[in-house]
């Protein structure tokens, strides 16, 4: 589905992404993990057209999509969420969702003068759809709230909700879990699986919560210092010495125990 | 009767420092006539002030609209700058049949405007000044000059008419370029003028605007040391600003020979303002003309007194100087004829504009000297 070939993205002299090559199989839920500053978000941003690459190519379904602007990628079915929530702060939560689908009749200015009836029909449908998504995210009661007033986690949910408004092909999720209540995160995980199975979405998920990754993702790609460090099934990865060394650590429990013993 | 006259002058805006002396001039005339008690059986005259802003035609139009339709003025002394004058004349004064006498709008365009005989000015058209200036320069034996003008209808009209006249006489204008008023810096303009060169620099600008800025920069860099100053520049302010630095420069402005002007300046000093201020005397004359014409017509109706203005201003008749307005009124009331000379040797020609007698001035020893009249 997505293939990244020898991708570089440098900031001044700093190589945030430094020759990463990877591919995301169609129909998979691929996990992307790695230490802070490994270049995961930067990689996302390059794929999603927010940042131009320094060098390297990105392909989607065999077509070169390097450097295409984000709005075109959206119309090709590539959606993404942001690590720091990017809500439309002065719009209501429901409007945040209703604006998402592309090609709405009412988005052409002439139509707003000439095709009112049609627009109203479409709006009614969008409204229904948005409410379904809100129900799913447990924030229906906030439909009229300004998105800027949401709590940190609620913004994250809204971020995810937007990707559910359209039929996407591949969705990039940048730490949807950070700041989200774990019980709800479980539900979100279920939803991801369902979207994957029922609607055939491909997912690429950045997340630091290893339980979540382990439950959901296959395969898991590990990045470190701008390159791919390892790739494989979740349980393999968790055993990988290099990954433990760079990313997972030996675990908190051991330490507490050690201290108690001392 | 209480006769109201409006003044439409730029109290705020780019020429705000010129306006007060003009207003004072008009007030002086109005007061003189009021005090005499001789106008239309002891009518009093009050002036209603209007701010034309000089630059904003819409604001000026609104002001004149108010003066005419709300204050019910019987005539207007103004506008001040040509563009704004044209707008308010065409849009308000003419439709309402109100007389406007401008002391200072000098654009040649105003000579030909369709005014139903309602517009006059006590200053001459710049077309004339260009010729006079060309003659003066030629007489000094200067053949090459650079010209800088303030970029409005006044500056450009004057610069063009000067260039035409000067070249016809065989002179060369090395460069004729505009400067904008109120800019922060005139180095670029002076650099260009200096590069073009010339034996003198003609500054067709305003003394308290870009004109002085250009002169300042030209003096500082040594680009020119002889300047030619037309009416927008000649004034006490110029001497105050530059003192002996402009020794050897010269110029001209509309102002007639004779005691009229001196008397006026003395009267102004007594009244507590500077009568030498640019167009202050013209404003006095504009107001006086208008009121004397009312007396002659026996009515303050603009429709009837507009026809008297030319009679009052020109020969034949007894000459009337500033301070002698009462005498003028007496003569008129007695059925006599007057020739209003006023502070600027008023002589209206053509469609009612000053014929244009200019005094030639020279700057020496840090003072302005009048050397002759043309």
């Amino acid at each position: 589905m997505i293939r990244v070939e020898d991708l570089h993205r440098h900031f001044g002299g700093f190589r945030a992404v430094d020759g990463a090559s990877l591919s995301i199989e169609s129909g998979s839920i691929t996990g992307l993990i790695g230490p802070n500053g490994a270049g995961k978000s930067t990689l996302f941003n390059v794929i999603a057209g927010v940042l131009p690459p320094t060098s390297g190519r990105v392909f989607m379904d065999g077509q070169d999509i390097t450097g295409l602007p984000p709005h075109e990628l959206f119309h090709r079915g590539l959606l993404r969420t942001f690590q720091l929530a990017h809500e439309f702060a002065s719009m209501t939560v429901r409007e945040n969702l209703m604006m998402v689908p592309g090609g709405q009749t009412g988005e052409t200015i002439w139509s707003t003068w000439l095709q009112r009836a049609r627009i109203e029909r479409e709006e009614a449908e969008l409204h229904k759809k948005a409410d379904e998504v809100l129900d799913f995210l447990t924030i229906r009661h906030l439909a009229h709230e300004k998105a800027g007033n949401l709590s940190g986690g609620q913004k994250k949910l809204l971020e995810l909700g937007r990707t559910m408004m359209v039929d996407a092909k591949v969705v990039f999720l940048d730490e949807v879990g950070a700041g989200v209540n774990r019980t709800l995160l479980g539900t979100i995980g279920d939803a991801i699986v369902r979207l994957n199975r029922e609607r055939g979405y491909t997912f690429c998920v950045i997340e630091h919560d290893m339980d979540f990754i382990a439950k959901l993702c296959n395969p898991v790609i590990v990045m470190a210092t701008g390159q791919v460090l390892a790739e494989g099934a979740a349980d393999e990865i968790m055993q990988n010495e290099a990954v433990i060394e760079a990313y997972l650590g030996t675990g908190l429990k051991n330490k507490i125990k050690a201290e108690a013993e001392a | 009767e209480e006769i109201k006259l409006g003044t439409s002058l730029g109290f705020t805006g780019p020429l705000e420092s010129m306006a007060p002396a003009m207003q004072a001039g008009a007030e002086l005339a109005a007061k003189e006539i009021s005090d005499s008690g001789l106008l239309l059986d002891g009518s009093t005259v009050t002036l209603v002030k209007g701010d034309s802003t000089c630059a904003d035609a819409a604001a000026a139009t609104a002001t004149v609209e108010r003066l005419i339709t709300a204050e019910k003025v019987r005539g207007i002394v103004g506008g001040m700058c040509s563009g704004e004058t044209i707008a308010s004349l065409e849009n308000v004064a003419v439709p309402n049949g109100i007389v406007m006498i401008s002391p200072s709008a000098t654009s040649p365009a105003l000579s030909e405007i369709e005014d139903n005989g309602l517009f006059f000015r006590t200053s001459p058209s710049d077309a004339r000044q260009g010729e006079v200036m060309a003659n003066i320069i030629m007489d000094k034996g200067i053949q090459n000059v650079a010209v800088t003008y303030t970029n409005n209808d006044y500056g450009k009209g004057l610069a063009e008419s000067f260039q035409a006249a000067f070249e016809e006489k065989g002179g060369t204008v090395t460069v004729n370029s505009a400067h904008e008023d109120g800019k922060a810096d005139y180095s670029a303009e002076v650099a260009a003028l200096a590069a073009a060169g010339g034996d003198a620099l003609v500054v067709a600008g305003y003394v308290d605007q870009g004109g002085s800025g250009v002169v300042r920069a030209a003096l500082d860099t040594g680009a020119f040391d002889t300047f030619v100053f037309p009416d927008g520049m000649v004034g006490q302010a110029l001497v105050d600003n530059f003192g002996t630095e402009i020794d050897g420069s010269f110029g001209q402005n509309p102002a007639a020979e004779g005691e009229g002007r001196d008397t006026y300046v003395a009267m102004a000093t007594e009244a507590g303002f500077d009568g030498t201020g640019a167009f202050s005397a013209e404003a006095y004359d504009a107001a006086a003309l208008m009121l004397l014409a009312m007396a002659a017509a026996g009515s303050s109706d603009p429709g009837s007194y507009k026809d008297k203005i030319m009679d009052i201003a020109n020969e034949p008749g007894e000459k009337i100087l500033p301070g002698e307005l009462a005498k003028g009124l007496e003569i008129i009331n007695g059925g006599g004829d007057i020739d209003y000379v006023g502070a600027t040797s008023v002589e209206l020609v053509g469609a009612g504009e000053s014929a244009g007698v200019y005094r030639e001035v020279a700057f020496n020893g840090g003072a302005l000297e009048v050397v002759g009249y043309r």
Partner: protein
């Protein structure tokens, strides 16, 4: 070929005037950029703050002159500056208290503050005119020239003259000192860093124990000082006329923005860029060509564009710069 005369001509008509003008713009732009950087709005009242500060300085200068105090070859106005700065600081602090503080507390959008500053601009504009009138005021005294055209010609025997005014020299020297001091203050002192922190993230500054009102006060005081200094130097070099100080606002903003809003280095660079592009791009090369190639008789002035378009040209340059560096030469902020 006469290279010396050509060089002197360029120095005299382009380099020196543009450098002095650039320094004046830079000082003004520093004030604008500081307010933008820390209080996060474009302060349209800055030009009139400059006018106000200068007006007070002029009044104080006259007072000193009346007392017979002078600074020898330097303008007396330098002695009067502290008075002007103090009055202006009091003035802007009062405005802050009555006007801006309210919007800060409201966390109003920057545009609201901009509009409020337009209101303040009108007010100050009127007050300054009430204070000192609308006429041009001259208050420069002391020696006018460090080097004047005539002495230069006598000294060197060159045909071209070179003038360097005391005020130009002063402007450049003071600009350098002020800029250095401001840098030192912002980057090295605790208060300076607190100001930068406040400008970055107001709430977090609060959590770090920084007193926001103190930062705001300090910003205004520095801005008032910069405005008064800039205004006075400009007035000394050119002339003081309240209306001109509104007009100078445009190039000042251009300088601040092209340099990168909120960035002091940018303000300086911007000031010089604007000044030099105004003067240099419209410079006619006729005279220089005359010195370099005495036999060549070109038809025109060898001028790229007439001076009528100097403002336009400088803006074109600014726009081109911004196209390549969308937040100014030195990566400014944008709210």
């Amino acid at each position: 070929m006469d290279i010396l005369n050509a060089v002197v001509a360029i120095l005299n008509f382009v380099v020196i005037p543009a450098a002095a003008y650039g320094a004046q713009l830079a000082l003004g732009a520093l004030g604008v950029t500081l307010i933008y950087g820390i209080l996060r709005f474009s302060n349209f009242a800055h030009g009139d703050t400059m006018a106000f500060g200068t007006a007070v300085t002029i009044l104080a200068t006259w007072g000193l002159q009346a007392l017979g105090i002078s600074l020898g070859p330097l303008p007396t106005a330098l002695l009067a500056l502290p008075v002007g700065i103090a009055a202006t600081a009091a003035m802007v602090l009062a405005t802050d208290r009555t006007v801006y503080r309210f919007y800060r507390a409201q966390k109003a959008k920057p545009i609201i503050l901009v509009m409020a500053s337009v209101g303040v601009m009108f007010l100050m504009n009127g007050f300054t005119r009430l204070l000192i009138g609308v006429d041009e005021q001259r208050f420069a005294d002391g020696a006018r020239f460090i080097m004047d055209v005539r002495s230069f010609r006598e000294l060197t025997g060159l045909k071209e003259g070179l003038a360097f005014k005391t005020t130009q020299g002063l402007t450049i020297v003071i600009a350098v000192i002020v800029v250095w001091a401001l840098f030192w203050f912002l980057n090295r002192t605790k208060s300076g860093k607190a100001m930068r922190a406040y400008s970055d993230n107001e709430d977090l500054a609060l959590l770090s124990g920084i007193d926001p009102e103190k930062v705001v006060r300090m910003t205004w005081i520095i801005a008032a000082a910069l405005a008064t200094i800039a205004g006075t130097l400009y007035g000394l070099d050119k002339a003081f006329k309240p209306f001109n100080y509104f007009q100078i606002l445009l190039p000042i903003f251009a300088a601040a923005i092209v340099g990168g809003l909120g960035n002091p280095v940018g303000a300086i660079a911007g000031g010089f860029l604007v000044a030099f592009s105004e003067v240099a791009v419209t410079y006619p090369w006729l005279k220089i060509a005359g010195y370099l190639f005495p036999d060549w008789q070109p038809g025109g002035l060898l001028q790229l564009l007439g001076t009528e378009y100097k403002f336009a040209v400088s803006f074109v340059i600014l726009i081109v710069v911004l196209l390549f560096r969308p937040t100014g030469l030195f990566r400014g902020k944008s709210v």
